[in-house]
Structures are given as C-alpha cells and as structure tokens.
C-alpha cells in the first residue's frame, strides 16, 4: 500500500514515502528510483523565500505571464509592446521581468543594452526605460553581451527566485513576465513562486502554422495543469502585406485554421491577430517602441486591439490604457470562465 499522500508522484515506485517526506530518497523503496538523488538532496519543508516574495509582490496588482510553447513566435516582442502600451499612461507603473535566462532579449528590445543593475539597501534596482517602466533581465548581469549563460535548471530557478525576492520593484500596476519557450524549469518556478501572491493570467503567443499551434496546445495544457488562468491567445506573424504590390501572403500558412480555430477547439479566448511588419522587427533590434514610432499602421491597430478593445480606448489618438485594460482583463476572465463551464 502506497501512502495516500499528495506528494507521491503517480509514477513513483511502490511504498514511495512522498517527495516532501523526511524519508524522501532515503527509504528502502527509493532504491533504484530515478529521482532518488533529487528527493534525497532537495530541501524539505516550505520554501523560506515564499513569504519574502509575497511581501514584494503584495504591491504588484497584476502579474501577467507571456508564454508560448514554441520559440521565436514573438513572446518578447509582444511583451515589449504590451509594456510600452501600458506605460503610455504616466500614472501606470509597469515592470518587465525577463526569465529567459539563456536567451534574454529584453535589454536589446527595450534599448537598454549595456546597462547594469544597481544595488541599494532595498534590493536590486530594475533598469528603467522611462520613469514608469522598469526592466529586469539576466542580460544586465553579463560582462559581455555575447557571454553564454550555460546553466542547468536549479541555477536558473535560483535567479528567478532572486528576481522576485530581491528586486525592488516598488508598487507596480503590471508586472509582465517574458518567458523562454517550453514548459520546463523556468515556467514551473515562476508559477510556483508566484502561486501564493496570485498570477493574474497568461497571454499565449503563437504563429498561425500548425507546427506552432501544436506546441501552444501543450502550453495550454501546462496552464490548466498548474492552475494559471489563460487571458487569451495572440496570433502573431499573421500574413505579410508586400510593401511593393500590397498583396497579402501567408508566410506561416494557417493550414489548420490558425489560432482562431485552435481557440475554439480548446475553449480559450482569442485576443486577435497581428500581421507581419518588418518595422516591428527593426524596432525591436533598435530598442524602440513600434507603437510610438508607427501609430496608425495596420500592426499598430492590431496590437492596440489586442491590448485594449478598440471602441473605448482611443483618446486623442492614444489608447487610454489604464481603465480599459483592467476591464478588458476582467472581461476576458469572464469569458474564460464561461467557455470553461
């Protein structure tokens, strides 16, 4: 009889004492289990950092994860533009936390390459793009931007914990978390550390082709498994309008109906499609805000539609983000619960 404990994995050997038990990795039944070493060495009991993280995060109203199973679909681009859009309102405090440890793109995309983190008695200070937009990334800690960060899981988890525990984020309205592709250490750690302070939800980014959707379905599975609400799915790189002849080409063809169809199939909200515009990539390379540089372009409108609903949000050509994103999020949650029921 295996003990009826919550922490006994479904695939554990018989008589597994449970991963949180004092006997974990040491009991007789642990012999031969592939996780024996991990269980024996893992610290037991509640993580002492969690209360510290909760304290820091108490002043952060919304924590939004930007996720995608697939790499290179535009997670960081979307994160940057979402943060830039939110921070257009001077009264809104926004933070970006880049937990892509081995491939941090945030310093470049926000134009902060070469900056370093400063330490004060309240903790590490984020690097600021503007008064109300702070960024934290491993990229700021490298002596040389080309240095490879060759870290296995536990070390990556450690730095994510520090980003949450030791960074003096101050009072934020939004903390946007940019993640690496996949469903592994970084994602589990971010969710685990933020669980108690509450994650507002996750925005999933995909491109229209099946190869990408296939990975995003896995990410949806991940969110549901770990209990992160899904704000919705953004379809990026949807079609390209040739600047010479104005014909539209589907570069990443939605052969299986694209993100819209997938959202219907799995019951999550679809937030909108953003077309390919070479200037988006260029803005990211230069660390400029596409939304500031090219208002009125097709991709600008698409971004704004995703970030805040169109009818109510334009005030003198600028989106009135603060009020509306909150209601938008509320609306999406509402939709999410309806769909799920």
């Amino acid at each position: 009889m295996a003990p009826a404990k919550e922490d006994v994995p479904a695939d554990a050997p018989e008589h597994c004492p449970g991963t949180a038990s004092d006997q974990a990795g040491k009991a007789d039944s642990c012999a031969g289990c592939p996780n024996q070493q991990a269980c024996a060495t893992a610290p037991k009991g509640p993580d002492p950092s969690i209360p510290l993280i909760n304290e820091r995060m108490a002043d952060v109203r919304h924590k939004i994860l930007v996720l995608s199973g697939k790499g290179g679909v535009g997670k960081s681009t979307f994160t940057t533009n979402l943060a830039f859009a939110l921070s257009l309102d001077d009264a809104v405090q926004v933070g970006i936390m880049d937990i892509d440890i081995t491939g941090p793109s945030m310093p470049k995309m926000t134009g902060l390459e070469g900056e370093t983190i400063h330490q004060s008695n309240t903790g590490w200070s984020p690097v600021y793009v503007s008064d109300n937009l702070g960024v934290m990334s491993v990229g700021f800690m490298l002596q040389n931007p080309d240095d490879a960060v060759i870290w296995r899981g536990p070390k990556k988890n450690g730095i994510i914990k520090q980003f949450l525990k030791d960074v003096d984020w101050g009072a934020l309205d939004y903390l946007v978390v940019d993640t690496p592709p996949g469903t592994s250490d970084e994602h589990l750690s971010a969710v685990q550390y933020l669980k108690e302070s509450g994650i507002t939800g996750a925005v999933l980014v995909t491109t229209p082709q099946e190869i990408s959707l296939q990975d995003v379905r896995k990410e949806i599975g991940f969110c549901r498994k770990v209990g992160v609400p899904i704000i919705g799915v953004v379809e990026n790189m949807a079609g390209f309008v040739c600047p010479s002849c104005k014909h539209k080409s589907e570069i990443f063809a939605p052969t299986t109906g694209g993100a819209v169809k997938m959202c219907e199939d799995v019951g999550v909200p679809f937030l909108g499609s953003i077309p390919i515009d070479p200037r988006i990539g260029k803005s990211c390379d230069l660390g400029e805000s596409y939304l500031d540089m090219y208002p009125g372009e097709a991709a600008y409108t698409a971004y704004m539609d995703v970030i805040a609903s169109k009818e109510t949000n334009y005030v003198e050509g600028r989106p009135r983000v603060l009020a509306t994103v909150d209601t938008n999020l509320a609306m999406y949650f509402h939709r999410d619960t309806i769909v799920r029921r």
Binding site: P154, T183, S184, D215, F240, P243
Partner: protein, 282 residues
C-alpha cells in the same frame, strides 16, 4: 506530465556490449540560441538532402517540451517499438534510410504537455542516446531546443566519447536573434564542440505576386556574425511561404514532397558543405 501519460515506455535491456552510437559515422548537432529560427526545419532539410545523396541518416529530436520533428516528417501517429536491441526508431520509408526518434512518439496524446524539470530531461536524453538501436548510420543529426541549458549540456556530455563532428548553427538575420546565437557560439567554444558553420534562415521573402524581395527579418546578419567569429558561413535560405503548406498538407509527407520544393536545390550546397566539413565525400 507524469510518466503514466507516456506509452508504456519500453525498458531496454541493461547490459550492452557495443554502444549503438559506435556504428554511427558522423554526429552533427543543430543548435541555435534563439527559438523559432528554423532549427527543426534545417534539421529536416539537411536530413532529406543527405538521404537524396544516398546517405543513411538518423534524426534525434531532443526538444522534449516542444518536439516538432514528428510533424515535419509526417510521422505524428507513429510509435516507438521495443526490440531486443533497444528502442527501434521510426523509419520514414521502406528502405530505412531515414530513422527518426523523438519524445513526440512516446506521447499518448500529441497535445500532452511534457512538464519536466532539468534532471528528468537529462535522464531522457541519456536514454535517447544510449538505448536507440539506430543500426548503421552515416549521419546522426540532433535537433535541439533553443538555449544553452540542460538539454545541450546533456547531449554534449553524453556524446563526448563519440566525438561529434560538430554543430550547425542556425540563425535569422535580425539583431535580436543574432544576440542569442552569439551566446550559442560561445557555448560551443566553452564545451569544445567544433562549429561546422552558420546557416542564415528566413533571409528575405520573395513576394510570390511581384517577385520583390522584402527583408522581413533584415538580411546578411548571419554571414557578418560568421566572419566576426571566424567560422564558416554555410549559406542562406529565404522564407518560402509554401514551406509550411508543404509540411502540413494532408496526404503524402514532406519527405516525399521535399524534392519538389524550391528550397531543395539551395540546400544541396549547404549539405555538401556540411559533408565536406565532416571529412566525408558526397
């Protein structure tokens, strides 16, 4: 994900006198710091080109949380079988000149999320490298996830005694991707993995309506980086909007359709370059 959602994973026999990899002549890794630049696409195209040149090729997909290789070869519904020698890879054709192994073949449902931390991924990769009965192969191509972390270290460590020929680095031309790929080059140097060269993917897009070329992700960055790091530039591949259609179209597989695609001739040169870098002849 728990292991229970994997198909009853066959347990290979413990003691093997000869390693499966000893019959593999050349081992090539496909790496990139950045995601979505076309590692799996390049792996697939390289494999198909090598097969066209009469080589016996194996493809190992070590992207455990986002395995794309089964889809690329049109093998989504295939399963791995167990034989007395180990796991039998999935073959794309009768002549068995192309063998494929991926975690995707072990999932009960292709949408299942594989939520694994590092140690579990490391164990799986070790098993992939030790227990797959590849048979005699001219080339084993290893498709990797983005980054420089658990998967990459595990592959390099476990392959050390087999002396892999080196890595093909894939990038797109824009600065944001290059920034990550530079890290990958430094990773290779740090772990002493030879670099066979750089492939610049998604290099420009030729509008099918007016033939005008748009540089969606800019252009030339890959070549400049190769020069800067003193490594070979293997070639550039433009964006082909038909590619995803070719891969995802029902009926037939990309393997059979590859020869018709516009990319095939361009890839022949890249493949020849890789072959000669491995000290082999076409």
């Amino acid at each position: 994900m728990t292991d229970s959602s994997l198909n009853a994973a066959p347990t290979p026999p413990p003691d093997q006198d000869v390693s499966h990899l000893s019959k593999v002549k050349h081992i090539v890794l496909v790496l990139s710091g950045k995601g979505g630049v076309g590692k799996s696409t390049v792996t697939t195209e390289l494999a198909l080109s090598l097969v066209q040149m009469g080589k016996r090729v194996g493809v190992l997909d070590v992207d455990l949380t986002g395995p794309s290789i089964p889809k690329f070869f049109g093998l989504q519904d295939h399963k791995v079988h167990q034989a007395s020698t180990g796991w039998v890879p999935v073959y794309t054709n009768e002549s068995k000149s192309l063998a494929v192994m991926s975690l995707g073949f072990l999932l009960q449902n292709k949408d299942d999320a594989v939520i694994w931390r590092g140690p579990k991924k490391t164990a799986m990769i070790k098993q992939f490298l030790e227990d797959v009965a590849w048979g005699e192969l001219d080339y084993l191509l290893i498709d990797t996830p983005p980054g420089t972390s658990d998967e990459h270290l595990s592959v390099v460590e476990n392959l050390r005694e087999y002396k892999p020929d080196g890595a093909v680095i894939v990038t797109t031309p824009q600065a944001v991707a290059l920034a990550d790929v530079r890290k990958e080059l430094n990773f290779c140097r740090k772990v002493k993995l030879p670099i066979l060269g750089v492939v610049e993917n998604m290099s420009g897009f030729i509008c099918p309506h007016c033939q005008d070329c748009s540089d969606i992700f800019s252009k030339g960055g890959g070549e400049a980086m190769a020069t800067e790091f003193g490594v070979d530039f293997l070639g550039r591949v433009p964006i082909d909007p038909n590619l995803s259609t070719l891969i995802e179209k029902e009926g037939g597989t990309f393997s059979t359709r590859f020869a018709e695609s516009g990319i095939a001739p361009m890839f022949r040169d890249i493949t020849s370059a890789v072959i000669s870098k491995c000290g082999d002849s076409a």
